[in-house]
């Protein structure tokens, strides 16, 4: 009986938190927590919430400006505008490998990337090179004033076409 009580007292004493330990834990805990919070805040700080980037929705020329059967390259918006007998299709000129701008090769009738040599067919499929995915077809519609409006963030099926 006596023995067990002694034991109990001992272990209680061991568990007892001394004033010194309490302050040490509080001090280190506070320091480490505030450091972790600062690092977290600094990391979050590096991700901007407001971007002053150009809108992904761009307005191009009048639908009547594009001749039937033509392929027009828009360099600043990095896209090709296909005008066929029924309407419009827009394909992104951003190479799916590492984002260089692909060229349209009149002679070979295909897209060729100058950076690492990826080749894409007229419908965007990869023919050769490091590009892992076909070129993206972009959503296009006509505005009330009969101009093309392309949404660069909206990828559509390769059969999608704006009928005019």
């Amino acid at each position: 009986m006596e023995n067990t009580e002694n034991k109990k007292n001992n272990s209680e004493e061991e568990l007892k938190l001394s004033r010194r330990n309490l302050f040490a834990i509080a001090g280190w805990g506070g320091l480490l927590t505030s450091m972790a919070a600062s690092v977290g805040a600094a990391l979050r700080f590096m991700f901007p919430n407001v971007l002053y980037e150009p809108s992904p929705i761009v307005k191009l020329g009048k639908t009547s400006d594009y001749a039937e059967g033509s392929i027009t390259f828009n360099e600043s918006e990095r896209m090709f505008i296909f005008r066929d007998s029924t309407g419009f299709k827009v394909i992104s000129a951003i190479c799916t490998h590492l984002r260089c701008t692909v060229n349209w090769s009149e002679i070979n009738n295909r897209f060729e990337c100058p950076c690492h040599g990826s080749v894409f067919s007229t419908d965007g499929k990869v023919i050769s090179g490091p590009a892992p995915k076909p070129l993206e077809w972009l959503h296009v519609k006509a505005s009330p004033d009969k101009r093309l409006v392309v949404n660069k963030n909206k990828v559509v099926d390769k059969n999608y076409s704006l009928i005019v």
């Binding site: 590096m46 991700f47 901007p48 971007l51 002053y52 980037e53 150009p54 490998h97 590492l98 984002r99 260089c100 950076c115």
Partner: protein
């Protein structure tokens, strides 16, 4: 003693002519003429700029063909890059509207601008080359083995920070080469796990634009040089602590 406050021209003159210079000299140089072993050692380790060097080295370590001084040349290039880079900063503004024009000004309108710019550019290419050759030398002499394995680890971080310095500096002229190199480089970052997030934080947005330029600039002129300087300090300190440069057993 009595005439303590009386002005004595001779004494005053001799005080300023002889005692002050000697006092000044002694306050800076705290060892005797280096003709004894002790004073020779003191010469090195009482001087801030020399104390990083060992007082004594083994004979083979000063042979050019042992290290080809590749680490030393890397350090020299880093110092040259810091100085020339600091000067270029007086004319370069990290703005997409001004950067390219500033580079042209440095080349055509600023005295010695083209010289400084080329020193910085060639120095940068050189540093990437020498840091790599230095690593090869360390490998071929087996200098990465214990007790130097941790210094190899620091070396790897130095290699990476050298490459990042090169990469971030590449964007700053804001020319076609810069733009497409960073377009490609940032897209490579998006192939790693967490992909687009990495590209986003690297560029400070989704496009290579002002946000990306200022990020690369701050990394190039502040963060990376700071990290590199600190690590070079630790690196050289470790060479000393690991018993000087490696070599055949004594």
């Amino acid at each position: 003693m009595e005439n303590k406050n009386k002005f004595d021209l001779r004494e005053t003159l001799s005080y300023f002519a002889f005692e002050v210079p000697v006092k000044l000299y002694r306050s800076i140089i705290r060892h005797g003429y280096p003709d004894s072993e002790k004073n020779k050692s003191l010469l090195i380790f009482t001087n801030f700029f020399l104390h990083i060097l060992p007082v004594k080295v083994r004979k083979h370590t000063v042979k050019v063909r042992y290290s080809y001084c590749m680490g030393g040349i890397t350090l020299l290039l880093f110092i040259i890059l810091t100085i020339t880079g600091g000067l270029l900063m007086f004319y370069y503004v990290p703005s997409t509207e001004k950067a390219y024009q500033n580079m042209k000004d440095l080349e055509f309108a600023v005295s010695f601008g083209v010289f400084l710019r080329n020193m910085h550019r060639w120095g940068a290419h050189g540093m990437v080359a020498t840091v790599f050759l230095h690593m090869c030398r360390v490998f071929y002499t087996g200098a990465y083995k214990p007790p130097r394995e941790f210094n190899w680890v620091i070396g790897v971080i130095l290699l990476v920070s050298t490459l990042f310095l090169s990469f971030t500096g590449y964007l700053l002229p804001w020319d076609q080469l810069a733009f497409w190199a960073i377009t490609v480089g940032a897209t490579i970052a998006s192939y790693a796990p967490m992909g687009d997030l990495q590209r986003f934080v690297l560029l400070g947005g989704n496009t290579v634009d002002q946000g990306a330029l200022i990020r690369f600039y701050v990394a190039h002129v502040f963060l990376l040089p700071l990290v590199t300087t600190l690590l070079i300090g630790v690196h050289l300190w470790r060479v000393r602590k690991d018993g000087g440069m490696s070599g055949p057993p004594l």
